[in-house]
Symmetry: C2
């Protein structure tokens, strides 16, 4: 029963998350005609005849994705639901059903789990998603949350990430970098609290970025605005790992290059202030911070007039030929290659 | 940011898994017309217009659901896939897509994960299921597997667990108790090995029950046989927690009682031999052992002639009025109330 000693050992950190998934799922060929899209977009896509089903799944682990010393359980539940709904939104779909798997150690009480579920249920109510399944087991240590969300979209309306076209405008919703600065703030106050438990946390005036970190909202409102304006994105993704990582997904998967203008990237004043306090370039927070759950999408230049006045949408660049590469044009006019330095749990 | 101290603390062990899920999901009302069935069957059921989508999700945790000292990674991957496919089979459906979430600590190598995935992929190939999504993250400690399977069934063919009728025959596929005896055997050899690492494990002749524990198979073949014989079960469930727990689900959810005859419960000779060695009543292993992943179903008495000669199907009892309760009729002719003592991870 003892397993063979493996002659070769490759560390997980050598591949990173995306490299690992590529390796584990290499060469898969679908057996079922209903399987339209597998690994490689925000959701898997299943053909139902007259419409499509979207399915997404995300894991959240204590000590890796969240820290219960500053993430209240209700917020955590809300976020676990929200980030999965966001994946459905990123395909231009409507989230309809959710399954939640939770593993907890006996350190948690029933009341603590009810608090967690109250956040999940709040997000479900807000986004009209039905909680249809649950699996709850004990764990040896810690809290583990696995959420699956199922959505629906018509065949005409679905938007993939690999369908951007040359010269398309690159647009982003809301503002970026806030969730990351909120995380740094919470981490700092945790250290202060550990050093001196009598000290009260100094979070006043920073509600906006704390909320960005603790209670992200899927941008269903942006989909509605685009629909109303008569704009269908040519490609779309949600920003979970930072703008850099996501625009590289769109560019490479579409076989194109891109240009993003630093001075067009939307950054809230609170984000900029706290970034200054931490001596971090706010552009770096936007490009590599992650967890903003805003929408990054491309649209035809012909839609420029329809897009330019939509509140909450910013045009930050355009797609190019592949040979032109992926570049950020700085405020000073210099070109910097865009590199994905998003939060890679495998490389931590 | 500090959470309010909770005045009341209820331990998870006070409620158990099903009680906890009931409490966490109490009062949920669906927002979407497509949501046909939520918590309370083997799968959630989604209306797609001309057919139904089935969705199921199960978690497997190291130290709770498996022990890597005797479960080879490839077998573990196969089992994680198989038990989810079995939930789709239990609704008379065809599993079509799978999403896999894995969290691992750096103690695991890429090669170890490939071994795990080779088992998942083997089960997917065997049951023609497409692996369409993956989420792989690091964990602080241990291995955590979350699998979601999506299936399809026509509206005419779907079988729920709450639709048994009075006087229906109770049937079971294969044989029971083997997976549990396999587990006891593996646990014993682990203790022997710990005490004396030079000792070779004594597992000879017990391949059948080891395979029952390490490599369960969803009974798609039984669905085919039933279809061929022209029998549609009136209610169905797969046996993950033991016969007692599952027949109680069917009985209570259908508002009925039941009678099961001890001498009709199919038990393999190897299971019986090892049970004797461990001084365990094989009926107890079948009733409460769990993890056999056989199908338990009810069928109309009018189908008796069609059922009685199908290889691999045993008629073990019948449904009664609710007031008659749930009883096992022993070989000696005594009535014993059936009690769910299945493997409840919350009560461990």
């Amino acid at each position: 029963m003892i397993q063979d000693p493996t002659p070769k050992r490759t560390e997980l950190s050598e591949l990173g998350e995306f490299g690992l998934i590529d390796r584990l799922t290499a060469g898969l060929k679908p057996f079922n005609a209903s399987t339209l899209k597998g690994v490689g977009d925000d959701c898997a896509v299943i053909d139902q005849g007259d419409h499509l089903t979207l399915v997404t799944k995300d894991l959240l682990l204590e000590g890796v994705h969240f820290d219960l010393s500053y993430a209240p359980l209700k917020h955590l539940g809300y976020k676990a639901a929200a980030v999965n709904i966001s994946d459905i939104v990123a395909m231009n779909g409507k989230a309809e059903q959710m399954l939640v798997g939770i593993s907890v150690s006996s350190r948690f009480s029933v009341e603590a789990l009810e608090e967690l579920y109250s956040g999940i249920r709040l997000a479900c109510e807000r986004y009209k998603v039905d909680l249809v399944g649950g699996d709850t087991t004990s764990s040896v240590a810690g809290l583990f949350i696995s959420v699956t969300v199922i959505g629906r979209v018509s065949k005409e309306e679905v938007v993939y990430r690999n369908t951007a076209r040359e010269n398309d405008l690159i647009c982003v919703s809301g503002d970026l970098g806030g969730a990351y600065m909120g995380l740094l703030l919470l981490e700092r106050e945790k250290q202060v609290f550990k050093a001196n438990p009598d000290m009260q946390p100094d979070l006043a005036g920073n509600d906006y970025i704390l909320e960005r970190q603790l209670k992200p909202e899927p941008r269903t409102d942006i989909l509605e605005k685009l629909k109303k304006a008569g704009v269908k994105p040519t490609a779309m993704i949600d920003i979970s790992d930072g703008l850099a990582s996501e625009i590289i997904h769109i560019s490479r998967d579409s076989g194109l290059g891109c240009r993003i203008y630093e001075n067009k990237i939307p950054i809230d004043i609170v984000t900029a202030d706290v970034a200054a306090e931490f001596e971090i370039d706010p552009t770096t927070a936007a490009m590599n911070g992650g967890e903003d759950y805003e929408l990054l999408f491309t649209a035809s230049v012909n839609d420029y007039d329809k897009l330019k006045d939509i509140k909450g949408i910013h045009i930050i660049g355009h797609m190019t030929e592949k040979v032109e590469g992926e570049y950020l044009i700085s405020n000073g006019g210099n070109l910097y290659p865009i590199m994905a330095q998003g939060f890679d749990h495998m490389k931590e």
